[in-house]
Every structure is written in C-alpha cells, then in structure tokens.
C-alpha cells in the first residue's frame, strides 16, 4: 500500500510519539496514584494542594472561624486560648455536646476513628491481613457485643441520649465539610478515608478503655503454672494481700458482715485447685500493661495553706501522640466543667466545675474469668451444661480485610459469655480448648450517665449519687468540694467470689462454678472526710485483709506507701508541694531492696570495677532522678536477681516462662526470710544461699554496666529513654518524641517509664476562685504538622505545669482569648 509523504511523516513523527508520550503520561499518573507497599501514592501525597503539605499548618495559623450549621439549636461560641484549649460557651447542653464532637473531630478525628476501629476489631480494614488475629480476638472477647449492650442503655436515658446524639451529629457535621486536602495526615499515609461516626463508637471507646484497664488474663498463665506449682505455692508467688499495704480505705475501717457468702463447689479441690492440665501452655499473652495505674489524692482544708481542699490526679497510661486527652471547658445553662475529655466520648472526664473536683485511678480488680466448655461438635451449636446439651447463640463476625475478601468467624455465646478460644481460634496456651470469657464489661451499663452527673455535681451527695451509675472499668473515684469535703470510693460492679475463684480457668460444665452474684454496693471500699485529712489511691489493694470479700487483682503497693507517707507528713500544703509529690522520684521498692543488697552482697569478692558500681548503690539516695546512675544499676540488678531466684523453678517443666511474680513478692519474702525456699537454684546440685543470689546477680550485670557507662548510657534518664510514641508506634518514629530526660519509673509516684506514665497531671485548688495546674505529654492538635501537636511535651518533661485559664461566662474581652469560633444555626 502506498503511503504519501505526508501520511508517512504523520505516522512516524506525530502519531507514534503521541501514543508513546500518552502512554508514558498515563503510566506516570497511574504510578503516582498507586500505593506501593506501605508508601503512599506519591502524586496524591506530594501534591501541595492535596497531599501532606496541606497538613503543614502555618505557625501563624488563625483558628478564628464562623461556622453555620443548621443542626445547631442556637448560637454558641468557642474561645480558644494560647494553648489551643477551647472554652465552649452555649445556652444549652445540646449545642455544647455538638460542638465538643465538632472540635474532637476537627483536632483529633484520625485517633478517635482508629481507636474505635481497633475496639471493634476492624484494624484489618485499614492495614490488611496482619491484624486478623487482633480483630478476631476483639470480636471473640465480645467487644462489639459489650458496646451494643451499652448503647441500648445510653440511648434509653434522656440525658445520655441527648449528649451522645448531639456529640455524634457534631462529629459528622465536621466530617461532611472535610475535603480531601484537609484529611488528617494518617489517612493520607495509610490511604483511606473516614467513615461517619455513630453512637456505638462512643460505647466502643469506653469498652476499649475497659479492656485496657480491666481485662487481666492471668487466669490462663496461672492455669498453666498449676502444672509446676501447688495452689499453696501459687499463693506465695502471687499473694492476694501485702503486709506493707497502705490501703485506700484506711486501716481500721470496719466492714459489714456480708449478707451472702458465696459457697465453693464441692469438687473445688480435686477439679479446680489441684487439677493439673498439661494441655494448657503459653508464652506471655499480649495483655494489658500491668503498669496501667495512676495516682490520685485529695487533701482537706485543714492540711492546706489556703484552708481549701486540693485535689490531684495523674492517670498513668501508654504515652501516645496524638495524646489520649483533649483539654477543654464546657459552659452551658446546666454546667461549667473544665478538664480533659476523651476524643470519642462526650463530656469532661477528669476535672472540676464551680463546686467540686474529681479524678480517677484504676482499681485493677479482676472482673474477668475464663471457663472451659465442651461442645457437642465443631459446629459449636450445643454445649454441655448441667448434664444436657444446651443451645449456644451464634454470632457471625465479618472481618473485612484490605485488599482481600472478608473473613467470617463464628463466635458462640453461652451462659459463660462469648467463647473466645476454640479449635478455630487457638493459642499455644489454650491448645484448641473451648474457653469462654465472662467479663463484667458485657453487662448492660451506662457509664456516661455518671459523667453527666459528675460534670454538674455540686456536693458530696451529688458525687455519691452519680457514682451509682458506674459499672466498669472499676475506678478509685476521688472527690473534693469547695464546701470542704473530700472522699474516695472504689466504684464498680464486682463478682462475688469464693476464695480463689477465678484465679485459674474454671470448669464450665454446670452452674456450680458460675459467679453467685455481685458484691453489694454497700460494701464499696470508701473513705469520706477521714481523720488523717487526706484520701488517696495509687492502684493498691483497696482494703486490708479484714475485708470480708475475696478480691483478686493486680495491685501495686509501693506508690501508695510513698503517697500516703508524704501526705501524712505534709501540712500547710500548697500547689507547689503537690507538684513535688506528683514528681516524687523516691523509689520505695529500692528502699526495701537496697537494704537487702547491702546486707547480702559479699563485698570481699568484688573486683575494682564491681566495687565502683556497688559503691554507687551503697551511696544512693534512692531517688530515681534523670541523672542518677544508681537508679539504672538498681533496675538491672533487681531484674537479674529475679531471674536468678525465680527462673529455675518457673522453667522446670518448660522453657517458657508463663508469668512472673511481682517485685513485691521477692522483696517481701527475702526481707522476712533469708532462707526463702525459692532462693536455691534447683538446677544445681549445691544449695545456693541468699548471699549467692545477690552477689552472683550483681556480678552478672557488671559487664552490661561497664558497656552502658562507656556509651554514656548509664544515667537513668538516658537508659530509660522516655518516648511518647505516635499511635502507630515505630512505624512513624518521626511523629514521636523520643529521648525525653525524665526521672521516675515503676513503683514510683512519678510513674514515668519508657513509654508509659502520667498521661495527665492535674492539681486543683478549690479556693473561692478555683486554681488549676495542668499538663499532659502532648498537645491539643492531633496534627503532626501543627506546632500544637506536641506543645506541652517539654513542659511535662521538666515536671512543670500550666495554670489553666478558667473562663467566666461573658468574659469575652479577656486577654487569654486568642481565637474565637462562632457557631450559629444560620
């Protein structure tokens, strides 16, 4: 075929290059619009008008805004101070909760959605199949079921329905106006978009906190340890009470005799306490941090300089950015509350109002038990109960997975709760057995209602009444009022147990091992205006051994000792004294153990290098300050000591260590008995003495100490390397704040560990004009591109505080107001 010159030219010089360059262009667009591995799509992500640059907030950014939304009832204002703390002023509660939702979403949307996705077992939707087991476990312990039960209660009450409905509407009003370029950066990095908020997510958030604080899973490792130890030995290794306890209800408190004493089943010894079950094995489970704790205390006016009560609270949680807390003030026609809120739920959670202040620490009591069941067959439709086959409810869980088809998981619900483990979801520990989770968190409850009343409480009676609505996670709720009262109550619903019930996995084949009721509310451990002039809690056992109920749990003994010792000694207390106490670095565990170290180390056998480190311990002031080298030596030494004492017994039947006794167990046992039976290393023929274990464990750590010293890492602050991680942990280290030089640590009032510690520090002086001193290791903005993202971290690290500006209604000319957001209906 003949081609004209023109056609030839056109084909080769124009059409062909056109096709090639069109292909190249399309190729680039597709390439830059596609995620490759964990990397975001470069075009979308780098476009200065769409991608991450849009999150780079100008340092002079103005937060002034006029927002017109038809969902509002009237006009309301938000006054932002220089720390970006919003002060909501509204004529009604509905608009205030709406605006709180709007602000939570504006500043913290990604974290609130991510945490509630995690609660609901929906992480695989975001990050793919590596989260399947996490998601399955969340579904199988009944997280969504528990949230649904809570949702019904929340929506059945007029007050909480109003707050949660308006809160949700406010969040969604913000999400609706959100453009692609305004998406929080985590969405852009991970490549997804937010969905609408719903009331159930608030319930899910509270259930996730419940899991964090009140879902101990020691039953499984303890059951495994029954193969190694007798129940009597287990009681020595994991004691229920501590002699040196300084309880929350002061000693001498008289408790009523229980009206009903639970009866252990007849076969409890043979079938439960003594039964060995070699099918159960495991390594440490991924379980809530034992360090989730907190301090709170309130001192009465007779102990303060001003004559007014002071209330203090520092809840210890995983330290994360964006911070778990969002500071704010809410003023409406029914309340004026200031404090911190959880992005995810309406209201002020820890704080104060015009009349009272309130705060929380975790009770740490065991409110979750495991039961072993027998199914008729693998369909899990019927289980053996009271000598017959009983039908189980089945819940089919759809787990959506990014880039893959959904996975469907059937969870059986029984009289003992949801069946968490079975043949299709098994851990090395459970060995395919069917094990159900009985958890107080499954009970229908409405914790929001307590906060509704607390935010508005005027006096002790209001506080007392508010607390009755609280079920879980059980907390030590502290209170002080301007009228001069101080109080604390360990509130929650607790199973009524016979002795040792629920320490191990229980037989779930009939009703005999079921909980026989709940501890009556009248037996709530409490203290109201005690003679000593203060109330306090620091996750210790709430009561001494005279309490007529069996209350297992994970308790710390040392922080409470130090708090109470200091509070007893202090008089004419000022806010500054309280700041010093929250930052107190005295190591009460070391107070006991260093004595033993000095007594039982054979110094004659130490070489110069060893002697050098030993002298640091010998001359240590027992303060875990950031620059203390002895604090690091102590930590390494006690860790090695515990290995030396326990490991031989704990690994006699298996190489895996199932659970580890608390530091207290060792310190207390050796203080009382230098011939403590566990001192001997059962794997050697000779009999080790207390001198051997102390001296050997010390010598063992010296090479490590020398290395740390050479690397300039021996100082406690450097060694501990306190880090506030981004929620996505090591995946996003540039969004974290690492290497913070702080003192403190485990068992210390200043409970700052590597990435765990005081997530909010608050000191409230209930003088005529309330004075509050506050700080948290984060910032008001959840955006890593904002200077308000980690604004408070350095202040927190130095142990300093901000004085909260408490806005008075109408004080709109105040110089503390930096920006104003005007909300109106039209």
């Amino acid at each position: 075929m003949f081609l004209s010159n023109f056609h030839f030219y056109y084909l080769i010089m124009r059409l062909l290059p056109f096709l090639i360059s069109a292909t190249v262009t399309t190729g680039f667009i597709i390439l830059f619009n596609t995620r490759i591995g964990p990397a975001p799509a470069f075009g979308k992500f780098l476009s200065p008008q769409h991608g991450f640059w849009q999150n780079a907030e100008a340092s002079t950014h103005s937060f002034n805004q006029e927002i017109k939304l038809p969902q509002l009832k009237g006009n309301a204002s938000v006054y932002l101070d220089e720390r970006l703390v919003p002060h909501i002023v509204s004529d009604n509660d509905a608009d205030a909760y709406f605006i709180q939702g709007y602000l939570h979403a504006k500043f913290r949307l990604w974290q609130m959605e991510f945490s509630t996705h995690a609660a609901a077992g929906r992480v695989s939707e975001i990050i793919g199949d590596k989260a399947i087991n996490f998601d399955k476990e969340q579904r199988r312990i009944g997280m969504v079921y528990a949230a649904e039960n809570m949702l019904q209660q929340m929506e059945a009450n007029e007050f909480t329905k109003l707050s949660v409905d308006n809160y949700t509407t406010g969040i969604n009003a913000y999400i609706e106006t959100l453009s692609e370029s305004e998406l929080p950066i985590e969405y852009k990095l991970l490549g997804y978009v937010p969905e609408k908020w719903a009331n159930i997510k608030t319930a899910l958030f509270i259930k996730q906190m419940t899991k964090t604080l009140a879902y101990s899973v020691d039953d499984l490792p303890f059951t495994a340890l029954k193969n190694v130890f007798t129940d009597a030995q287990m009681q020595v290794l994991f004691p229920e009470t501590q002699d040196s306890l300084s309880a929350i209800a002061p000693s001498g408190t008289l408790f009523d005799k229980p009206e009903f004493v639970p009866i252990p089943p007849a076969d409890v010894d043979s079938v439960y306490l003594q039964q060995k079950d070699s099918a159960l094995k495991m390594a440490f489970l991924d379980q809530p941090s034992k360090d989730n704790g907190s301090n709170n205390w309130a001192v009465s006016g007779k102990k303060t300089k001003s004559g007014a009560p002071i209330l203090c609270n520092d809840p210890h949680l995983d330290l994360t950015l964006p911070a778990i807390w969002y500071e704010m003030q809410m003023t409406t026609n029914t309340m004026n509350a200031y404090g911190v809120s959880f992005p995810g739920i309406p209201g002020v959670v820890i704080g104060f109002n015009d009349s009272i202040a309130f705060g929380f620490t975790n009770a740490g009591r065991d409110i979750r038990d495991f039961y072993e069941l027998k199914f008729k067959d693998e369909t899990k439709k019927e289980y053996w109960f009271n000598k017959e086959w009983k039908t189980a409810d089945q819940r089919i869980e759809e787990i959506k997975i990014k880039g893959q088809p959904s996975l469907f998981d059937t969870v059986a619900y029984t009289i003992f709760g949801p069946v968490t483990y079975d043949a299709s979801f098994s851990t090395p520990l459970t060995g395919g057995k069917a094990i159900a989770t009985r958890w107080i968190a499954h009970l229908p409850s409405n914790e929001l209602l307590m906060w509704h009343y607390l935010d508005r409480a005027k006096n002790y009676t209001d506080y007392y009444n508010a607390l009755q609505f609280y079920t879980v996670p059980s907390q030590n709720m502290i209170f002080a009022s301007k009228s001069g009262d101080i109080a604390i109550r360990q509130q929650g619903i607790f199973p009524l147990r016979w002795n040792r019930q629920g320490v191990y996995v229980m037989p779930g084949f009939d009703s005999s091992y079921l909980w026989q009721g709940y501890i009556p509310l009248s037996a709530t451990p409490a203290s109201f205006n005690p003679e000593r002039g203060f109330v306090s809690s620091a996750n210790q056992r709430p009561v001494d051994s005279t309490y007529p109920y069996y209350i297992p749990g994970g308790y710390d003994v040392y922080r409470g000792l130090q708090v109470n010792r200091r509070l007893a000694a202090l008089n004419n207390i000022t806010a500054k004294d309280m700041m010093q106490l929250q930052g107190d670095n005295f190591n009460s565990l070391a107070e006991v153990v260093v004595k033993l170290m000095k007594k039982y180390t054979s110094q004659s056998g130490l070489n110069t290098e060893e002697q050098k480190f030993y002298d640091l311990i010998k001359n240590w002031d027992l303060q875990n300050t950031a620059n203390s080298k002895a604090a690091t030596i102590f930590q390494l030494w006690i860790d090695a000591l515990e290995q030396t004492v326990w490991k031989d017994e704990f690994t006699q039947k298996d190489t895996i260590v199932y659970a580890w006794p608390d530091d207290y167990t060792l310190a207390d046992a050796i203080t009382k008995d230098s011939l403590f039976v566990f001192i001997d290393d059962i794997k050697t023929p000779q009999q080790e003495t207390v001198f051997d274990v102390f001296t050997n464990s010390f010598k063992q750590i010296v090479p490590e100490l020398t290395k740390l010293e050479t690397e300039n890492k021996l100082e406690w602050g450097v060694h501990k390397n306190t880090t506030v991680y981004h929620t996505l942990r090591t995946a996003l280290m540039p969004f974290a704040r690492a290497g913070l030089q702080t003192g403190g640590g485990k068992h210390i009032v200043n409970a700052t560990q590597h990435s765990h510690g005081p997530s909010w520090r608050m000191i409230v002086e209930l003088t005529a004009e309330t004075e509050a001193h506050v700080v948290y290791p984060g910032g008001q903005s959840g955006n890593p591109g904002s200077k308000y993202y980690d604004q408070f971290v350095d202040t927190w690290t130095k142990g300093e505080y901000y004085t909260a500006w408490i806005m008075k209604r109408g004080d709109v000319q105040n110089k503390n107001i930096k920006w104003t957001m005007q909300f109106s209906k039209n």
Binding site: F18, S21, I29, F52, P734, G785
Partner: protein, 134 residues
C-alpha cells in the same frame, strides 16, 4: 508574501519562540493551580495537555514548558507552605519516606513528580497537532 512564508517567519522568530514558551509555562502553572483547587491532583496532566495543544511549539519546548511549570508550581507552593510551617512537617515526612530529614529533598521530589506528569502530558498535547510548529 503568502501565508506559509509569514507563518515560517513568525515560527522562527526567537522572540516569538521565547514568548510562546513563557506563556505556555505560565498558563500551565496558573491553570494547574486553579484546577488543583477543585479537581484531583492529576488534573495537572489535563491542563498541561490543553495548553500544549493550544500553544504550538517544538515538542521539546512543549515538554519543557509543562515540566518547568509544574516543577516551579509544586516546589514553589511547597516552599511557601514549608516556610510558614517552619519545616515542622516536611522534615518528618522526608524522614518517613526517605529516611533523610531534608526539606530540600522532599520539596525537589514534590516538584519532580508534578513536573514529570505535566511534562509528558504537554508532550502528548504537542503531538495532537498534525504538524508541529517549526
């Protein structure tokens, strides 16, 4: 003079070539900025393409106009944002993406991504015309 000669004179006039190049570049940048406000990021390909069709140049000149337009627009916007942000976020993102906390690096990559897409889109636009400009 007939039209062909006139056209050739115009097409080879260095001043006119320069003017066309500059207008193509500026127009691409401007239209890309405006479309970026309303449309997805890849709308820069459409604007670069359209400008290259509308302003005939030699293929390489079209490519370069689109390329430079978007390099300057994206790197320029990034620079402006970054200065106002005091490098807070750019350093973090550069470290996440490239393990190097360099704001110059992340800005250059930003410019380059826009430039490559717009450059080739402009080249494609250039070849739409049956005959090139000389």
């Amino acid at each position: 003079m007939d039209n062909a000669i006139l056209k050739k004179l115009i097409d080879t006039n260095p001043k006119i070539i320069k003017m066309k190049f500059l207008s193509a570049m500026l127009l691409t940048a401007l239209l890309s900025y405006v479309s970026g406000l309303y449309f997805p990021w890849w709308s820069i390909a459409v604007t670069a393409f359209v400008v290259a069709v509308a302003i005939p140049q030699k293929p390489f000149h079209s490519f370069l106009a689109g390329f430079l337009a978007l390099f300057l627009l994206w790197a320029g916007l990034a620079l402006w944002i970054d200065m106002n942000n005091k490098h807070l976020l750019s350093l973090k993102i550069a470290e996440i993406l490239f393990k190097t906390p360099s704001h110059a690096l992340i800005m250059s990559v930003t410019g380059l991504v826009g430039a490559l897409v717009a450059g080739f889109a402009a080249l494609t636009g250039n070849y739409v015309r049956k005959k090139p400009s000389e």
